[in-house]
């Protein structure tokens, strides 16, 4: 292994007894990005966050992609005793298992396969030729062995032992080679993913496969839309319905065409069947301006109902009932915010991107969090804000119910962040970051010219922030400690540690000294 490591500071006396996991992108199948079990970091001590360690991995970035959000599992029984392990996937078909306490690589897996016949256009940021789906850690089997499900760039699913990286099963085909699958989700033995951008000829659809099915039948639902490119793939509700946003396209129920909306599909027998969908009434406007619905929803319980929030580049948030998304006409949300940002109607560097988040505080208040890019809309006001926002911010809403009507009530807007990315929440603290990524896809002199080299060159560096979840006040900023930007990465948090991988294939671990 040619991995170069430099451990800035080895954690001293790491607390391994906390027992919190982050087994999937977005923290859980509902993609709330809420770490309920955080006990170390809190509002009072988060100001003392430091880079506990950073680890240079030998993953080679492809286009703008590099490291995907780490998965965390605590108390993993290894040959050397129980360990807290971070699983990090790299786009060049690498899986790293890192001992969180020592920042040592416990094992590494590199997937090899013959080059697929098709791949994305070189320099195209949309279609990197490699592993693109964040893996998922499955529940332990009877022996306590925990599987890591990882999809290689050729579309094969590998089932790896979390403890040592050994294959627990023979690989099997699930996705499309170089097809740009999004983060895996796992529910009742079924793996889900979504695909977008038609990379290498891949259809844009929801995919499912039962890991216990000996035939490994691949089940799909195709909404006949643009790409399903919610950053953390599909979110799964309590009935096992996988909800995924659909990119630009038409809405025509007569032909089962569901562009610019949100579709929910469920495994029925051995098929993936559409259960419900939501299409904004202004879908044609969204399509005409390339404002795709492309944000992974967050699903949560509130006052006996299971609700869901979704969003788009247009920059508004929809509150939906998972049991009847969009109501009888599939187009009426429980509530819909005004335009939070993107007054310019820009398809590239404004709007809501990635994923949403939700959590509940000790008083039972349900919160919804959203990142956005670009300036805040001049007509949208938050009761609490923290200075002018021109590059992006995280915003918080309270979910309220009155007389049976549900509403999203604006609560606060964070400080300006250079392209705010999906936040995570733990113990009353919101962790967010500005990616520092250059997101321009079109230029005055050339028009559309989305190319990785230029965007990489013009990107800066990410900044991690910790915010008071009650009011958005900044509690911590990493300043210029992170040296590179993040594209399609993301935060993970467990047991007093916050993780972020950057384009230069460095994994940063933030925490408190001695904790």
């Amino acid at each position: 292994m040619r991995t170069t490591r430099f451990v800035v500071a080895i954690a001293l006396g790491c607390a391994l007894a906390q027992g919190a996991d982050w087994p999937t992108d977005g923290g859980n199948p509902q993609r709330t990005a809420w770490q309920k079990d955080e006990k170390i970091l809190n509002k009072d001590n988060v100001k003392n966050l430091k880079i506990v360690w950073k680890l240079q991995l030998d993953n080679k970035p492809i286009e703008m992609h590099s490291l995907f959000p780490p998965l965390i599992a605590d108390k993993v029984n290894t040959a050397n005793g129980p360990k807290q392990i971070a699983i990090v996937a790299g786009v060049s078909d690498n899986i790293y298992a890192i001992d969180v306490a020592t920042a040592q690589i416990l094992w590494k897996k590199h997937f090899e396969y013959p080059p697929p016949a098709r791949r994305g256009r070189p320099t195209d940021p949309l279609c990197p030729a490699g592993l693109t789906a964040t893996p998922v850690i499955g529940p332990p089997n009877a022996n306590g062995t925990r599987p890591v499900y990882a999809m290689a760039g050729d579309g094969e699913v590998h089932t790896l032992n979390l403890a040592d990286g050994e294959d627990l099963a023979a690989p099997y085909q699930f996705g499309y080679p170089f097809g740009k699958s999004y983060a895996l989700n796992f529910w009742n033995d079924v793996l889900f993913t979504t695909t977008a951008q038609g990379c290498a000829g891949n259809p844009n659809q929801i995919w499912a496969i039962n890991v216990k099915d000996p035939a490994h039948k691949v089940m799909t639902f195709h909404p006949k839309s643009g790409g399903l490119w919610g950053r953390t793939g599909a979110a799964i509700d309590e009935d096992g319905v996988a909800w995924a946003p659909t990119g630009d396209g038409r809405y025509d129920p007569a032909t089962q065409t569901y562009g610019n909306g949100l579709v929910g599909a469920k495994v029925v027998g051995n098929e993936l069947k559409l259960q419900d969908y939501f299409i904004p009434k202004n879908w044609a406007w969204l399509q005409s301006r390339d404002l795709d619905m492309q944000v992974t929803p967050a699903i949560f319980k509130f006052k006996g109902k299971e609700l869901m929030v979704a969003a788009s580049k247009e920059c508004r948030i929809y509150l939906l009932d998972t049991k009847a998304a969009g109501g009888d006409d599939h187009q009426t949300a429980l509530d819909r915010t005004g335009l939070i940002c993107n007054e310019e109607v820009n398809f590239a560097s404004a709007g809501i991107w990635g994923a949403l988040a939700s959590w509940e505080d000790a008083q039972g208040t349900r919160w919804v969090l959203s990142p956005f890019w670009g300036p805040v809309h001049p007509d949208y006001k938050f009761p609490v804000s923290h200075g002018p926002v021109t590059h992006g911010a995280v915003v918080a809403f309270k979910v309220e119910e009155k007389d049976g009507k549900f509403k999203l009530v604006p609560a606060w807007m964070s400080r300006d962040m250079d392209l705010a990315e999906p936040p995570v929440i733990a113990n009353g603290v919101v962790y967010a970051y500005g990616s520092g990524e250059d997101t321009e896809q079109a230029y005055p002199d050339r028009g559309l010219d989305d190319n990785s080299p230029e965007r990489i060159h013009d990107s800066t560096h990410a900044v991690l922030y910790a915010l008071d979840a009650e009011n958005g006040k900044e509690l911590y900023s990493s300043g210029d400690q992170i040296k590179s930007f993040v594209h399609f990465g993301g935060l993970s948090i467990a047991n007093g540690r916050v993780y972020l991988g950057t384009f230069d294939s460095i994994l940063y671990c933030f925490g408190l000294e001695g904790k």
Binding site: K224, W285, E440
Partner: protein, 462 residues
């Protein structure tokens, strides 16, 4: 919701679900819409006789500009550095070119072109020789109209669509900056970046300053223009400049003012003057043929099967249909009254060819047979100096241009019957000298007081 609104929603939803956008469809590239000066939009997603009858037409906005506007040109789904835009480009007598971002409207950019000539600038014009920029704008106009076809690519499903899935309906987005051609009053031809309004190359000398320019048109990187009334001492004639080498070509017409121009699909250029119809070679403007007579309208051309016709109106009120190859007159009708400055033509889905003629105080509709024969069909309601009409998907938009005492009124008529479907009523405050443009379900009217009005349908943002 009232029953009318419900019906309109049903009509619009149906139109959306089954809309047929042309490839690059719905753009209005030059005065008269295209190189043939058809004055028509072949297909439209929302405007139809049915939808207009059910109330789809709205007054969308009005915008005050600096100067007397020329007819705007329209380009849709441009991928700019500020997002996808439908842009309307318009010039005014003050040598200002605007790009207007529909549907707000917002000025996307504004370029006031400084006067740059050794000849003194004419600042106070006359009714016959107005001062300032007189030429409308042109986009790069294809020689032949594009075949209707589905759009695809960014902003549409495009890649990743499964075989057999529904046809996407949005027109193909324009990925690279196209150009706007503007002839400023100093006689320089400017090639402007549609995204920024900036010159993409040094402006080239084209025509002497202070000319009265008619029919600026860019086809195949060659820009054409006609001059009239010897305004500013500029000779009357047809002019062209090849922008690949800035070579200038001209065909002088002496005392005859150029009225307008149209291309046949093989590149032959027809130009009407006050003394005849000229047939000129593309770019070089060498005379191939001519037909004597005092013409008063721009020509238009259309194909019927393998045959191509050119239609033009004479000063004594005759509409002449001529074989484009021989200039033999195949039909000659006199609707009565003075003819307007241009006609419009459209082929309906049943392959019936229509010709619309503004004359006197009305618009007259003719069916055109395969042999070029004209059969009078209907005459519109009365109008004050009807402007050249346009046809959008079977709907005729006719403008009563008005006068100093009667403001302009826009009417929508059923092409099949002439029945009035809608009118702008008292919305327009002034009179119009600019005529009509259309694109993406919108109709644009400029008035002499510098106001641009937009009517039609826009996708609901909410």
């Amino acid at each position: 919701m009232n029953p009318k609104s419900v019906m309109l929603m049903a009509v619009v939803s149906g139109a959306l679900a089954h809309a047929q956008f042309g490839r690059g469809g719905g753009d209005w590239m030059v005065a008269g819409g295209d190189a043939q000066r058809s004055g028509s939009v072949r297909v439209d997603a929302h405007l139809s006789v049915d939808s207009v009858e059910h109330g789809i037409m709205q007054t969308l906005w009005k915008l005050k500009l600096n100067g007397v506007p020329t007819p705007p040109v329209v380009a849709s789904r441009i991928i700019t550095y500020k997002g996808f835009k439908d842009l309307i480009f318009i010039s005014t007598s003050t040598d200002t070119v605007y790009a207007i971002d529909h549907p707000y409207p917002r000025i996307f950019w504004e370029n006031h072109i400084p006067y740059n000539s050794l000849l003194a600038q004419v600042k106070n014009g006359t009714p016959n020789c107005p001062a300032g920029m007189t030429a409308g704008l042109s986009l790069a106009t294809p020689l032949a109209p594009p075949a209707p076809g589905p759009g695809r690519g960014r902003g549409g499903p495009g890649r990743g669509m499964a075989p057999g899935t529904a046809v996407p309906t949005m027109p193909r987005p324009k990925r690279t900056p196209a150009t706007v051609y503007a002839l400023s009053s100093d006689g320089l031809i400017h090639v402007l970046n549609q995204h920024t309004g900036e010159d993409i190359a040094p402006a080239a000398r084209f025509i002497r300053a202070n000319a009265k320019v008619r029919d600026l048109m860019s086809v195949g990187n060659v820009v054409y223009a006609g001059t009239a009334d010897n305004c500013g001492g500029v000779l009357n004639g047809v002019w062209s400049v090849d922008l690949s080498d800035n070579m200038l070509y001209e065909y002088k017409t002496g005392d005859a003012s150029v009225i307008g121009m149209a291309f046949a699909q093989d590149g032959t250029l027809f130009a009407t003057t006050t003394e005849g119809l000229l047939v000129l070679e593309q770019k070089t403007l060498k005379l191939k043929q001519q037909h004597p007579g005092a013409f008063s309208t721009s020509p238009l051309t259309f194909k019927s099967g393998e045959k191509e016709y050119v239609v033009a109106g004479s000063a004594d009120g005759h509409v002449l249909v001529m074989d484009a190859a021989t200039l033999g007159v195949v039909n000659d009708v006199a609707p009565g009254g003075k003819l307007g400055s241009a006609f419009a033509t459209w082929e309906d889905p049943d392959k019936n060819r229509w010709l619309l003629v503004p004359k006197g105080n009305a618009v007259e509709a003719y069916k055109v047979s395969a042999s070029g024969a004209l059969e009078q069909s209907w005459t519109s309601r009365e109008m004050v100096t009807p402007a050249p009409p346009i046809i959008v998907n079977g709907v005729v938009f006719a403008l009563s241009s008005g006068s100093r005492t009667a403001p302009a009124v826009l009417y929508a008529l059923n092409l099949a019957s002439g029945k009035e479907l809608w009118s702008s009523g008292k919305t327009i405050a002034g009179y119009s000298t600019t005529g009509l443009s259309a694109g993406q379900s919108k109709i644009y009217v400029g008035t002499h007081d510098g106001t641009l009005y937009a009517f039609g349908y826009t996708l609901p943002r909410e």
